[in-house]
């Protein structure tokens, strides 16, 4: 934490951060289970493999990746809840896993799948506890709570036992609990998981507004592309414990999809037969035909098609984002690092 200068240093700096677990390798069957009592086989699971990442103050960064990719593990490392196997990390100049109070007073972690509020009590009782734990001045506490509950429109629910709240309302309360002490850095682990579209949208809107107002730094993991598209300027794709992409959402398509989708509207009476000679045919619903071809060949392809077919309308589109990302997940299992920003990932 010494000599941290916010003007020249990134707020989050991760270098070659690695976390491996030794897990007991269970064998199938009863006999194997009995044998396992005295002879256990272990296997190393590499949850996070030598990750490098810098985040500047005020950034809203999304971690994207399939289940088990290491997103949550990374957030837990940055929260100081678990210790790394090797590597280093600094958040606001603090080493997270030292868990000093100065650090813990200035960040928050929200987990969509776990809750920290007292189940049987109204949320405001848990908030009061936070006020004491974080030593929040009474007036400031009042103001912050009013502001947050207004923004999330849960003011009238503060006195209701948490167990009686809907999932969406509970999540809003969890957010309030996390923001009462006005953290400078916020880690959100799937904050909208399991929520309906309206609740998801509300929370997105809130996060967007709050982040713009306060200029805090947020790292978010989510499976919902909508969350990410709505909130984050920067996306970090993690699969299999390593960073596979770091950049804007749009760039993912440019970088990872070598394909374009061609949509043709054929002239009346024109058959689609023989199109497969030029490109992959995705669907034929005359007069509409959808084709797919390598980006570099789009122009030659079009020229040849126009030569042979009567076409009324043409559009060239990027493939859908979800598809690109799903492809990226699949590819990255074998491939190495493909693209990163701002610097190279050592693997």
């Amino acid at each position: 934490m010494d000599h941290y200068n916010p003007a020249t240093m990134p707020i989050i700096e991760i270098e070659q951060l690695t976390k491996s677990y030794r897990v007991y390798q269970k064998q199938e069957g009863l006999m194997a289970a009995i044998r396992g009592l005295w002879h256990r086989e272990y296997r190393d699971v590499h949850a996070v493999k030598s990750i490098d990442l810098c985040v500047e103050q005020g950034e809203f960064v999304a971690f994207l990746g399939p289940n088990g990719a290491g997103k949550t593990t990374t957030l837990k490392l940055l929260s100081g809840v678990i210790y790394p196997t090797s590597g280093s990390a600094r958040v606001m100049g603090h080493v997270p896993w030292k868990r000093d109070n100065d650090y813990r007073r200035r960040f928050a972690l929200v987990m969509g799948q776990k809750n920290q509020l007292w189940w049987d009590l109204p949320a405001q009782e848990s908030f009061r506890l936070h006020q004491q734990i974080y030593q929040i001045d009474a007036q400031q506490f009042r103001n912050t709570l009013d502001e947050l509950s207004d923004l999330l429109s849960v003011g009238q629910l503060l006195g209701r036992p948490v167990r009686e709240l809907s999932l969406g309302e509970r999540m809003k309360m969890e957010l309030i609990a996390a923001l009462l002490h006005s953290p400078d850095v916020l880690f959100l682990d799937e904050p909208t998981i399991g929520l309906d579209v309206v609740a998801q949208h509300n929370i997105q809107q809130f996060l967007k507004y709050y982040q713009e107002q306060r200029k805090i730094t947020i790292l978010l993991t989510s499976h919902y592309m909508k969350d990410i598209a709505a909130l984050c300027q920067r996306v970090v794709v993690i699969t299999d414990g390593a960073i596979k992409f770091d950049g804007s959402l749009e760039r993912i398509v440019d970088d990872f999809s070598g394909f374009r989708v061609l949509k043709l509207q054929l002239a009346e009476g024109q058959s689609a037969e023989g199109l497969e000679r030029f490109a992959d045919v995705e669907s034929v619903e005359l007069p509409k035909v959808t084709l797919r071809c390598a980006r570099s060949e789009v122009t030659t392809m079009l020229a040849r098609i126009l030569e042979h077919y009567a076409v009324e309308d043409i559009s060239v589109e990027d493939p859908p984002l979800e598809e690109v990302i799903a492809q990226l997940y699949r590819d990255s299992e074998s491939a190495d690092v493909v693209s990163t920003r701002p610097h190279e990932v050592h693997d």
């Binding site: 949550t72 929260s79 813990r104 987990m111 799948q113 776990k114 004491q132 734990i133 974080y134 200029k215």
Partner: protein
């Protein structure tokens, strides 16, 4: 709000442990009042168990006048011992046992994450989160039993009991030492969940050791009992938990057998050592904590 210059934090505010504890108490009480009947049932069942205990020992003392020969544990001295047992157990049950059992569960489910994020000592937070007020009923009963028994001992033919402030202060100190030793033992045990993945034997273990420490240690002071006496005094010092304060209160300050004052001194050392070891085990456990995935 965009500032995150650490210099703003150089005040190093100390978390208000007492006010946090007060909120824990308040929240627990609100919750208890929400489930009033449950609260009453818990208190009543605790009390009945204790009363049955007195009845049982009352019957035992119909058959004998003292536990062992010349040990000093007559009927009312033993009831002082019993009262002390309840007081210590009740403090443990009120403040620690439900929390320590939950600690095991927090480790297994990954709920410990939240405790670890708070800018306050994690061990404090998980040890005192919930206060189980209904268990205080037995504390009250223990005090009542103490008063009644001491009143009887005031008529003791040899060294009648009389109020001696030194004795009362020592008693209070050693009751707290006893609680500290039991707490340390339990937190060590609960922390093993980190390595074992699951450890639900906490209450079983609690039952064994409280059962064991519930009798005057002189019982073990012969023949085959000696190894037990040694192990449970010096290695896992559960025998001193109740014996030392109870003996201080029930017996006259002087004369004392040769081993008594050294044992009193040892108990103090054992308390400090137990707290130290449990703190160390707790920290080690946090280092190995894996946090169940969400």
């Amino acid at each position: 709000m965009s500032e995150f210059d650490p210099s703003q934090d150089t005040t190093h505010q100390r978390p208000g442990y007492l006010s946090v504890l007060a909120i824990f108490g308040r929240n627990s009480l609100v919750r208890d009042m929400m489930f009033r009947t449950n609260f009453l049932l818990e208190a009543v069942s605790g009390l009945s168990w204790a009363l049955m205990n007195v009845g049982f020992y009352w019957i035992i003392f119909e058959h004998t006048t003292s536990i062992g020969e010349a040990t000093g544990w007559g009927k009312y001295e033993f009831f002082v011992f019993l009262g002390t047992t309840w007081i210590i157990n009740s403090i443990m049950q009120t403040f620690f046992m439900p929390n320590l059992e939950e600690f095991s569960e927090l480790i297994r489910t990954g709920g410990l994450d939240f405790a670890m994020l708070k800018p306050i000592d994690t061990q404090f937070l998980i040890s005192l989160r919930k206060i189980h007020f209904s268990s205080l009923a037995n504390l009250v009963l223990g005090v009542v039993l103490l008063v009644l028994s001491l009143n009887q001992l005031a008529q003791r033919s040899e060294h009648p009991w009389h109020i001696d402030w030194i004795v009362l202060v020592l008693y209070a100190i050693y009751v707290l030492c006893g609680v500290a030793i039991l707490y340390s033992l339990m937190i060590c045990l609960a922390a093993t969940s980190v390595w074992l993945g699951r450890n639900q034997t906490l209450y079983d273990f609690w039952f064994y050791i409280t059962n064991f420490s519930r009798y005057p240690m002189e019982i073990y002071a012969t023949g085959r009992g000696l190894p037990l006496l040694f192990v449970f005094t010096f290695i896992v010092p559960v025998l001193v938990v109740i014996n030392v304060p109870a003996r201080l209160l029930a017996q006259p300050l002087t004369p004392r057998a040769w081993w008594e004052w050294p044992l009193v001194g040892f108990t103090l050392i054992a308390t400090v050592a137990a707290l130290g070891v449990s703190r160390w085990v707790f920290q080690k456990a946090l280092l190995s904590y894996r946090s169940a995935s969400s």
